[in-house]
C-alpha cells in the first residue's frame, strides 16, 4: 500500500469563510476511504480542490508524489483522478452510451484532423471506444439503457451513470461525492456492492457520504471533518464512538 493522494496543510478560504483549514489527509491506494462530517463541513470543497476546480488558498495537494495543486482539472484527470458530482453533472442531451464514451476521452485518440477526414485509425478507435463503453455499462448494470437519453433516466440510474462515466477514464482514484443521496434502500445496497466491485478492480475510492450505514459497512478508513478541520480518523467502529464526532453531529450536551 502506498500513499496515493495527500493534502499537506491544505486550506481553502472564501473571503472570510474558512471552508477548509490546514487539512492533512492521506489516502492509501487500494482502500475505500470515506470522508464524513456535518453539513457545511467542507467535504465538497475538498473534492473541488483536489480535482482542480478550485485552487487551494495555501498548502499542497499531491497525487502519487507529484504536486497537483495548481493544475487544471483536465491535467489532474490525466494523472488518474476522476470524480462524480453531488448534484449530478450528466450530459443530459446525450445518450447513456455517449456519456460513458466521453468518460473514455482520456483513453482514446482522435483529433480534429483525423476525425474530419475519417482516417482508418479513427474508424478502429471508434469501434474500440464503443465496445469498451458497452462493457462498462454491463459492469454497472446499465446496458439496457445504452441508447436512452441520459436526462430521461430514472434518478437512481442517473447516479449510477455518473459513476459509470467516471470509470471510462480508468482512474486510479475515484472520488464519489454523495453517490447515495436520494437513493432508496435497495438502490443503496446495489451501490454498495458496485463500489466494492470497483475497489476489486484496483481502483482506490474516496467517498463523501451522509448515509452512515453505507459508510460504516464498506469503508476501510473514515476521516471526520467539521468546519474544515479534521476532528477524527480511523476504523469505522472507532470513529462511530468518538466523542468529538458525536459532539460535532449532535451539538453540545
Amino acid at each position: 500500500m502506498t500513499t496515493l493522494l495527500e493534502t499537506r496543510s491544505m486550506s481553502r478560504y472564501f473571503g472570510g469563510v474558512q471552508a477548509i483549514h490546514e487539512l492533512d489527509l492521506v489516502v492509501q491506494s487500494g482502500v475505500i476511504h470515506s470522508v464524513i462530517g456535518p453539513n457545511g463541513a467542507g467535504k465538497t470543497t475538498l473534492f473541488n480542490v483536489v480535482s482542480g476546480i478550485l485552487p487551494p488558498t495555501s498548502g499542497d495537494v499531491l497525487f502519487d508524489g507529484t504536486l497537483i495543486s495548481e493544475l487544471a482539472p483536465h491535467r489532474i484527470a490525466a494523472k488518474g483522478v476522476t470524480r462524480t458530482f453531488q448534484n449530478l453533472q450528466l450530459f443530459s442531451d446525450m445518450t447513456v452510451l455517449e456519456n460513458v464514451m466521453v468518460g473514455m476521452h482520456l483513453n482514446s485518440k482522435g483529433g480534429f484532423f483525423a476525425s474530419a477526414f475519417k482516417l482508418p485509425s479513427v474508424w478502429k478507435e471508434e469501434h474500440r471506444i464503443r465496445s469498451v463503453s458497452m462493457d462498462i455499462l454491463e459492469f454497472t448494470g446499465l446496458e439496457k439503457y445504452a441508447s436512452t437519453v441520459a436526462g430521461s433516466l430514472p434518478f437512481g440510474r442517473q447516479r449510477v451513470l455518473e459513476i459509470a462515466r467516471a470509470l471510462g477514464a480508468e482512474p486510479r482514484l475515484l472520488m464519489l461525492d454523495e453517490p447515495a443521496a436520494g437513493l432508496n434502500n435497495r438502490e443503496t445496497s446495489d451501490l454498495s456492492e458496485l463500489i466494492g466491485r470497483i475497489r476489486d478492480r484496483d481502483i482506490t475510492i474516496l467517498l463523501v457520504e451522509h448515509d452512515m450505514d453505507l459508510v460504516m459497512s464498506i469503508s476501510d478508513l473514515v476521516t471526520v471533518i467539521d468546519q474544515g478541520r479534521k476532528i477524527a480518523e480511523g476504523d469505522p467502529d472507532v470513529v462511530r464512538n468518538d466523542k468529538n464526532v458525536l459532539k460535532a453531529y449532535l451539538g453540545e450536551e
Partner: protein
Amino acid sequence: MKTLLWFRNPYMGFMLFSVLIMGLPLVITNQYHLGVLVIIAIHSIIVLGLDLLMGYTGQISLGHASFFGLGAYITGVLSAHWQWPPLAGLAVSLPVVAVIAWLIGMPTLKLHGHYLAMATLGFGIIVFIIFNELGPLTGGPSGLTGIEPMNIFGMTFDSDLEWYFLSMIFLLAVLLLSINVVRSRVGRALRAIHGSEVASGVLGVNIARYKVGIFVLSAMYAALAGWLYAHYITFISPSSFTFMFSVKLVTMVVIGSLGSLWGAIFGAALLTSMPEFLYVFHNYETLVFGSILIVVMIFMPMGLLRGIEDLIAWSWHAARRRLSSDGGEELS
C-alpha cells in the same frame, strides 16, 4: 442541437442532399439564379463553421467577415500582383488564417465571458481598415481587380453552371467534414463541454483546446469561402467584408439554429436570396435583420429552425393526445 426532423443517420441525409444538389441544374437553368446559388454555397461554407462555433461552444464571433476577407485578399493579391495560380493562393491563405485565428482564440477562449466576441469585433475592424489603407497592395477602397479566374490543374471555370458545380462540390465536402467532426470523439467532447463544462473538464477534456480548435476550423472555412469568392467575382473590395456582414453571418446562424448543420445552409440560403429577390428590401435591410435577431432570440433562443421544429413537434403531440383521449385508439 439534434434536429427532430429527418434523418437518424446524417450520412443518409447527406447522400440525399448531394443528389438533390447535383440534380438541381436540371430544373434551374437561369444563369442569374445559378449565380445566386453559387453565392449561397459560398456563404453556406462560412455559416457552417460559424454555426459549429456558436452551437458547440456558446461563443460568438463578430468578425468572421474578416476571415472571409483575408481568404479573399491573400489569394487575390497573390494572383493579381504575382500571377500565382489559385491553388497556391489557397495553400497560403488557409494556414495563415488558421494561425491568426489560433492567436486570437488561445488567450480569449481560456476565459469565461464575452472575450471572443470583443476580440473578433476589434480584429474585424482592424482588418477592414487595413484592407482600405494598404492601397498599393490591396487596391484600397476601390478594390482589387485583375484576380485570375479559377483554374485548378488546368481546368477552368467560366460559366455559372461550371461554378455552380465547383462551389457545390466544395460545400458538400465541407459539409461532409463537419458531419464527420460532429459524430466523432471531437464532436462528443464538444457536446460534453456544452452539456456540462465542469464535468467534461474533470473527465480530461481540454476545454480550451477544443474551443480554440472549433474556432480555428470555422476561420478556415471562412477563408476557403473567401478564396472561392475572389476567383469567382475576380474583383474584391473592402465593402464586402464589413462588420455588418459579420452580423449578417450571425443572423444566418440564428435563423438556421445554433449547432445545426442543415440549419446553417438553410439560414445562408434564406438570407442570401432574400435581398436578391426583394430589391426594395435593401433600404430596410438593417431594420429587418435587427428585428429578426431580437424576435428570434427572445422566442426561440436556439434559433428559428429549431423553434419551428419544436412548435411542430409540440402541436403534433398535442394533436395525438387529443385524439387518444377522444376515441381511445392509440396512434402508433
